[in-house]
Structures are given as C-alpha cells and as structure tokens.
C-alpha cells in the first residue's frame, strides 16, 4: 500500500514548534494516506506529544506547512480540528470515568430531539447506537449504562476509537494507545487500528514500541529530541532497522558496559543487551542520535 498519491490525506512539510526558548519540533515532515497507518516513533521527550497537539488543534505550528487534503490549514481549537475530520484519541482517552459508556461515546456531539428550549437528549437512540457501534468493533458490553471507569484500559481505548470512527473522522490520531496495556490487550487495540484503516481512515499511530508499530504501519516517522530521524515507507525499512533506530544501538552498548561493571545478574543482562545491539546491525552514526543531514 503506497501513500504517494497526488494529494495525501494529511501532510506536514518542515513543521516546527517553539515554546519560548525551547525548540520542541524542528523541520518535521511526513504524510498520512487514506486507508494507511503512519507510525510516529520516538522516546520520551522526542516531541511526539507536541506533534499530535499540532494535528489536533491544541497548538499552532510556528513554521512549515500543514496540509489537509492538499489545503493549508491551521487550527485554533480542538473543535476546529474535529470539524475538519481529525479526531484524536489521547492517552487519557478523553473519557469522563464517572459517566456511563454511552454518554461518553456521544460527549460533545450529543444527539437531540425536539427544538428550541425543549430540545432534549435522544437517550434511547444514543444508547442503541453506542451499543451497536461497539459491537461492530468487537466489544460486547455487559451494560452500556455502566461508568466507563469500570472498563479495562483496552476496552476504553476501543470505545474512544469507535467514537472517532462513528463521528466521521478522516484522520485518526492515536496517542500511545498500547503504552499502558498488557500484551493481550495491546494486541486487541492493534486489531482495531487495522480495522480503522480498513474503514478507509488515515491513522497516525504514536508509540515508542517498534514491535507494535511495525505489524500495522505503512509508514514510519522517527522522532528524536524534536528532530526527525527519517520518514520511511514500509518497503524502505525492516523491523530490525526500525528497532535499531528507535533503541539507538550505541546507547544500548553504553548501557551494557555500565551494567557489566555491576557484576552478577546485571552482567548477565548486559550480555543480552549487547547481543541485541549487535543483532540490530545499524549504522552507528544514526544510532548514536546524530540527525541525518538534511
């Protein structure tokens, strides 16, 4: 699946963002195609959150171009981004824990019946639709009225994804959806990422885990300290290279030396890390974190 069509669904070119004297992002470019998953990978503090906040309308970008379906855009509020078809599922999922599942599903976009002062919530319809939409995503809820806080992390994630899909998002941004989940739950969420792609959405999948990103991604953009380490189509990069770029092979080696000096169990771990770093076989310049020449 290639994303190199005439006008990708969403594209950024040389985007940057500055907070006071802190350069949070510099010269970031990538594209998101329809029915494609673009993974944004990076460690803590790499600038992933800042980037999605630009997409989501929380921040404005300071430089570069932000194109939605070929048109220049700049959102001043999350609402604007949402209206333009960019839905964001945050790490905190933007759910209100004490509220029932169906109320969360429709929060901010409630269905109403009646007009003027007697316009009221169409609670029956909302319950029915929420239940059906969640079922379509493969979540069979015991009770649509239960507070969303009683669902598991994976289920909550899926409610948030189902909500975005139902409200006609064209671009779905997932902020580390698998970060706080166990292996099985993470697998379930990845399944929904693929489902969203099959429904024709462009998905931006933010993660620090290349093992989660590689199976579902069509395109990979790596961030490090606010700069891009590269933007690759799936055909241009292997899982091992991706893991190597993410982990930073040289850093792994340094860590291995450090642990070796500790002796005992630490030394054992150090050997494993070293072996892994060798297996990755990545160009040391990139792995050490020096940004590639522009």
């Amino acid at each position: 699946m290639t994303t190199a069509t005439a006008a990708p669904l969403l594209e950024i070119r040389g985007v940057s963002k500055v907070f006071g004297s802190v350069i949070a992002l510099q010269d970031i470019s990538t594209t998101v195609g329809a029915a494609a998953v673009t993974c944004v990978l990076g460690d803590n503090g790499a600038g992933k959150s800042t980037l999605i906040k630009i997409f989501a309308g929380v921040h404005r970008h300071d430089g570069g171009d932000f194109l939605l379906e070929g048109e220049q855009v700049s959102f001043s509020s999350p609402r604007e981004a949402l209206d333009a078809g960019i839905a964001t599922v945050y790490q905190d999922l933007a759910v209100v824990k004490l509220m029932p599942v169906w109320r969360n599903f429709f929060l901010g976009s409630e269905m109403r019946k009646g007009r003027g002062p007697i316009a009221r919530l169409d609670t029956d319809a909302m319950r029915k639709i929420a239940k059906a939409e969640l079922l379509a995503m493969g979540i069979d809820l015991r009770d649509i009225d239960q507070p969303i806080g009683t669902l598991s992390g994976g289920e909550r994630q899926c409610v948030a994804i189902a909500r975005a899909v139902y409200f006609g998002a064209k671009v779905l941004i997932l902020d580390e959806p698998t970060a706080a989940l166990g292996v099985k739950q993470a697998g379930v969420v990845l399944k929904y990422v693929i489902q969203a792609r099959e429904r024709g959405l462009g998905v931006i999948f933010i993660t620090h885990n290349p093992h989660h990103a590689y199976p579902v991604g069509d395109r990979f953009m790596l961030l490090k300290r606010g700069r891009s380490l590269g933007d690759f189509a799936k055909s241009e990069i292997t899982r091992e290279e991706l893991t190597g770029l993410m982990a930073g092979g040289a850093e792994l080696e340094a860590l291995s030396h450090e642990l070796q000096q500790g002796g005992g169990a630490a030394a054992e771990a150090a050997q494993q890390i070293e072996a892994e770093a060798h297996d990755l076989a990545i160009p040391s310049g990139v792995a050490a974190g020096t940004p590639p020449k522009a």
Binding site: P78, R79, L82, Y90, D92, A94, V95, M99, R112, L121
Partner: protein
C-alpha cells in the same frame, strides 16, 4: 436512567441481570439523603404530632424552599466541579439592589427587578469568567467576591440610606402587581402555604430535567468529572462553567426577591453564612466535592432535611441552640454514607 422492577426482557444482555435492584437503587446519588429524610421525619413525627400537621409541614417547608432553590443551583455548580461562596450574600445583594432602586430612586418595581437580575447574572458571569480564565480554584475566587459583596452590601446601602436596612417595599407603586408572584399564599385545607414552595418545586424540576435530559446537563457532568478530557473531546468547558455560575446568580436573585417581597424590607447582612448551608445540602444530597457526580433532587432533599431539623427541634421541645450541632452531625453521616455507598458500588461493579 429509570429503575424498573420488571424482570429483564428477553433481548437484554443476560449478564445485566446480575445487577440487582438494590445496587441500582444504591447507585443513585440521592438515595442516602432520601433515607435520612425519612428517618428524620419519623423521629420528629414520633416526638411531636404538630410536626406532621399541615401547619407544621407548611412551617418547615418555608425555610426548606428558600435554601432548596439555592441548593439546586449550587449542586449543579458542584457537579460542574466548582464552589460559589458568594452565593449567600448575593441573595442579599439582589434584595438590596431592588429595594434601593425602588424606594430610594423611584424606579419602577418591574424595571428594578430586571436590573437586579442582570446584576446577579453579571456577578455570576464575573465569577465564572475569572475561574475559567485564571484556572484558580473557584473556592478562592468566590471567597474574594464573597468578601467584596459583603462589604459592598453594607457600605453602599449605608451610603445611600444611612442605615443598615432598606424597608418600605409595601409602599412602592405597583408592589401589589409583584406580590402575587413572589409573596402570596396558597390555601390548602385551611392552611396557608407560601408560594416560594412552588418556585422551589419548579426550580428542582427544571434543574433535574436539564441535568438528565439536555446537552448542557451532559456537559456539566463531563466538565466536573474531567475538565481536560471534556475540553479535548469538544465540550465548550468555559461556557458551561460560566453558565453554571450565572445560574447560581439567577437563583440568588429569585431567593433575594422572594425574601424582599415577603418581608418588604431587607437587611445588609442578609444571606451571610448561608453559602455553606447550600453546600451542606448539596453534599447531603450526594454531590461529590470533587465534581462530576451528584443530583439536584438530592440537594433538594438535603434542603428539606435542613428545614425539617430547624423546625423539628423546636417541635420536639429541644433548645434550638442544638440545631447547628445536629446539622454538622448529619453532614458527617451523609458524607460517610456516601463514601460507603460508592465503595460498595465500585466493589460489585466489576
């Protein structure tokens, strides 16, 4: 939102049946206050036959209704995640403004009522705007407005009238056109009930409907439950918060007007100290101090408990000096009961 006694219908999920009626009932925020109110009613009724006579009921509905109107607005604000400490003295500001404009400046009484309504809404707006704009705790912001209003009520009134009260509303032209709406009596089997009770019922009904059935109510729960999440999902959080503060202003105007028209005079210290009782009523009614959960019907029952206790102590032949002690004890009981209920709900929720 309703609890039905009927067995689950065939198409209902079979796993839902495990959630018993008891748990459903217990999960309602107002259930604790309802049980408390029933127990109190029985206790007072046993100790005095006067308590449940029509005259007695009229007597304790009287304070309950005024506190109840405010408790509804304050409960909604608390569900929305905020406090308003200025709500009590704002009832005084409303009454004083109307009284000064009519008796001192000769303004038409209806026009004066309208101006003081706008004033109360405006103060509510300022509270809400400052809270949303600065992100400071509403406790601090409204503590400031509470003190400023308290000072203004006294200073401005003394400046204009030279005394600490404004009277003579009965002599104001067209007072008799306003009176039926705010200070009339309804005769039920030979006993007079004040019209403010009907206002209370109306405010409770509107509040309950808005919370359960409207988009604004949904936003209120959301903003109180998780302000950041609701903003991210597209809820106009600031607008919701400001509107809730303005609703408190509107209710304060209503209560101030009801008192003014009933007593035909107003003291500069009116409403001082009552702001805490509104919060007590809301908390007894099941509102969480942290927001996102609660009920206006519960708050109304909380106000009812307040009214019953204040009069019931007298009927029971106890010294009314004990009243505040009982109120405090009930608040403690209510908070403990609510906490226990919530844990029970969470435990069996999985």
């Amino acid at each position: 939102m309703t609890t039905t006694l009927s067995p689950p219908t065939p198409e209902a999920d079979e796993r839902v049946a495990r959630v018993g009626l008891l748990r459903r009932l217990v999960l309602r925020p107002e259930i604790g206050s309802l049980i408390g109110a029933v127990i109190l009613f029985v206790l007072f009724a046993v100790s005095s036959t006067q308590f449940y006579s029509l005259a007695g009921i009229s007597n304790w509905l009287d304070p309950a209704s005024l506190f109840g109107i405010m408790a509804v607005a304050v409960a909604m604000l608390m569900i929305g995640g905020h406090f308003d400490l200025s709500a009590g003295v704002l009832t005084g500001t409303a009454g004083l403004a109307t009284a000064v404009m009519t008796t001192q400046w000769g303004l038409n009484i209806w026009a004066a009522l309208l101006v003081s309504l706008v004033l109360c809404l405006g103060i509510g707006f300022v509270n809400g705007y400052l809270v949303t704009r600065t992100g400071l705790p509403s406790f601090i912001i409204t503590l400031a407005t509470f003190l400023m209003l308290q000072g203004l009520n006294l200073a401005v009134t003394k400046l204009i009238t030279g005394t600490v009260s404004v009277g003579g509303m009965a002599q104001v032209p067209f007072y008799d056109t306003v009176r039926p709406l705010f200070a009339s009596r309804i005769n039920v089997f030979g006993v007079d009930f004040k019209i403010q009770i009907l206002w209370w019922v109306l405010v409770v009904a509107i509040g309950a409907w808005v919370l359960a059935k409207t988009r604004f109510g949904n936003w209120t729960f959301a903003v109180g439950g998780d302000p950041v999440a609701s903003r991210n999902i597209g809820v106009p959080a600031a607008r919701t918060t400001i509107t809730l503060f303005m609703a408190v202003g509107a209710c304060a105007w209503l209560v101030g007007t009801l008192k003014l028209m009933e007593q035909t005079s107003v003291q500069t210290n009116q409403g001082f100290g009552e702001e805490l009782i509104y919060i007590v009523a809301a908390v007894i009614g099941g509102c969480l101090l942290t927001g996102g959960y609660g009920s206006v019907i519960g708050a109304a029952i909380g106000a009812l408990i307040f009214g019953m206790t204040s009069q019931g102590i007298v009927y029971a032949g106890l010294d009314s000096d004990w009243f505040k002690f009982f109120l405090g004890a009930m608040l403690l009981l209510a908070v403990l009961a609510n906490q226990y209920v919530r844990r029970y709900a969470e435990r069996s929720g999985k």
